[in-house]
Point group: C2
Chain length 199, copies 2
């Protein structure tokens, strides 16, 4: 016996999602059948709309349904600083804390010789062009992750941007707030000692 065609097709579709195998897909498909009709239609429309209406902002690379994106066109933001992140999700994480009010630039990746990703494979060219056509920017904050690739990308960007007389900074490394020294790794502790501040 096979599942009826409509449910077999839905299982196939769910299985295309990351981390969803046949068992989970089957569970989700049966759950869908018992959902409110309206919710299922909303879900289907949301899928199509997200795919059709969203694209990357031509200025900063953030995801948006208008171009340039809402952040790039927001007049109340400080146009003097650009914060560079690896992924679109990082923009949300940083903006959520309501402490940074400048602009963003999304690289969509990091330099990674192992994966064969060079400067042309990530969104660096448009960052440089953005800085060249603009004398308002006085600081670029590089907020790539604290991984070897993130660090390498940060150094690369610093070498590229500093000669233009723009300040390049990096997020502070150190102990996470609320964490125990006992459980901190050696590298983090070293960075915390190096970057100690006066009380």
């Amino acid at each position: 016996m096979q599942y009826p065609d409509p449910i077999a097709k839905l299982i196939d579709s769910y299985m295309k999602l990351p981390g969803v195998g046949e068992k989970t897909a089957t569970r989700l498909a049966f759950y869908t059948i018992d959902m409110d009709k309206e919710d299922v239609h909303t879900f289907a429309d949301a899928l199509v709309n997200a795919k059709e209406q969203l694209h990357y902002c031509s200025v900063c690379g953030n995801i948006t349904d208008v171009d340039p994106c809402a952040i790039c066109t927001d007049k109340s933001r400080d146009r003097g600083t650009i914060l560079v992140v690896e992924q679109v999700k990082d923009v949300m994480s940083i903006d959520r804390m309501n402490e940074y009010h400048g602009l963003y630039h999304v690289l969509h990746g990091v330099l990674s010789p192992i994966e064969g990703l060079g400067p042309d494979d990530i969104n660096i060219t448009s960052l440089i062009r953005r800085l060249q056509n603009n004398d308002e920017v006085h600081e670029v904050i590089v907020a790539t992750n604290a991984t070897p690739e993130g660090e390498a990308t940060a150094s690369y960007l610093a070498r590229l941007i500093k000669p233009a007389g723009i300040k390049v900074t990096r997020l502070a490394h150190g102990l996470a707030v609320g964490s125990d020294i006992e459980y901190a790794d050696q590298m983090t502790l070293m960075k915390a000692v190096e970057g100690r501040t006066e009380l």
Copy 2:
């Protein structure tokens, strides 16, 4: 900053699925944006089609896109036995082994005084009606789960059906094939000893 509307809506929809929280929904939504356009449309269509075209078979309660379902109308099947299961998914599990060729009946639940589920809340009435209008059936195999509720439902069905002169059987309890006696629980071992067979 909020996510653009299309992605916020898609995150909301993904969050309606069981076991999907905000983090997973966000990850799935971003994944969807990078999927093939065709796959996204197929997914959206599959959702709507599954919801619109599927319903429960009026005879056996199995899920189907035609009524009665393909199993109920299959002339090559043994119409003398009905195997009773708790859920639609159990039909698939049993039919997959290609050993049972009779008909099915899906209860959509079990008797559960704790959850307030009595005989009228599950698909029992239609099973009785099926047996009354039919003198072909000579055996009902009760394949509810080996849980207290499953056992109670099996006993209830046996008391109801046996007086009509129909044989009522239950799946065998015992050690799972390939399992160690060392790790078997006391109840399972007891059932395995009780149900021992001669070599």
